[in-house]
């Protein structure tokens, strides 16, 4: 169980039971991993902190989480959420545009050494091409798994094609009905 504080304007999945299904399906698809977690567009930390908690359960106590998010209020919530779940010593959150984070915070470089998983859950517009380039460059250094969660299959498909051009392999795609009785669908993909 992971607990989250929700303030009036902070993002949280609107459907809690759906979010549990979404995250557990995503983590199952991701399977075993070794190393640290980089969570881009992390919001208040819901995916990254859940994955970190799971890693601790599996006795991977040296796993660290780096969360990057452009909205400063969300980062304040993320730090608080890390704390109330006893995960603050293993997690680092910075407020920055995803594509500029490493340049803005050089100290992150050390934290993402031994990178095992990159999580991306971008807004509906999908990924900035620079972000895809950065992730592809990281891939040259670390053999991580890429977990892509999206509420817009159209931009996700576009981005996956770009990742494949950069040498990634798309292992599995699974939609989850996070918004029942609407035409919206949440989508999970794992790339390696």
């Amino acid at each position: 169980m992971v607990t989250f504080r929700i303030s009036p304007f902070s993002f949280f999945q609107t459907n809690t039971f759906g979010a549990e299904k979404l995250f557990s399906t995503a983590f199952q698809m991701l399977g075993n991993f070794k190393g640290n977690i980089l969570d881009l567009y992390c919001g208040a930390g819901s995916i990254g902190l859940s994955l970190l908690k799971l890693a601790q359960k599996e006795k991977k106590s040296d796993t660290q989480l780096v969360g990057i998010e452009i909205v400063e209020d969300a980062i304040i919530d993320a730090r608080h959420n890390a704390k109330i779940n006893g995960l603050d010593a293993q997690s680092f959150f910075v407020a920055s545009p995803a594509e500029k984070a490493l340049a803005n915070f050089p100290e992150l470089q050390e934290k993402i050494n031994n990178l095992g998983v990159v999580v991306i859950d971008p807004p509906r517009e999908g990924l900035h091409p620079n972000v895809i380039d950065r992730i592809a460059n990281l891939k040259k250094e670390y053999p991580f798994k890429l977990l892509y969660i999206s509420c817009n299959p159209v931009t996700m498909a576009r981005d996956i094609e770009l990742f494949i051009e950069k040498g990634f392999i798309c292992k599995e795609v699974q939609p989850v009905d996070l918004f029942p009785h609407t035409h919206h669908i949440e989508d999970i993909a794992v790339l390696e």
Partner: protein
């Protein structure tokens, strides 16, 4: 109290955001209103309304936190550069859990 009109930018009630922690049974209500263009009569009504909210036993029992956001922005969104939330009661936050 008049409902906010997106075309004329007059009126009081703009949005009502209800968020529930389904595991924690905590409830947040965020009432988004416009305090611009209140005349003497609607100001009076507004004060009466807030007093009614405050003394309502049902609301007091059910709502973990009650936030009122003054939204002076023109766009039809709850959160914009001109919206200012203020806590009416509670801590201004709720908690939710994810169970795996």
């Amino acid at each position: 109290m008049p409902i906010y009109d997106q075309k004329t930018h007059q009126g009081f009630f703009r949005h009502l955001v209800v968020r529930e922690g389904v595991h924690t049974h905590q409830l947040m209500v965020n009432l988004s209103v416009s305090l611009d263009n209140l005349n003497a009569q609607t100001s009076e009504l507004r004060n009466t309304l807030l007093q009614e909210f405050k003394s309502d036993p049902f609301l007091k029992e059910k709502l973990t936190t009650f936030v009122i956001t003054n939204n002076a922005g023109l766009s039809d969104t709850v959160k914009n550069e001109k919206s200012e939330p203020s806590i009416f009661w509670g801590e201004g936050v709720i908690h939710e859990e994810l169970h795996f």
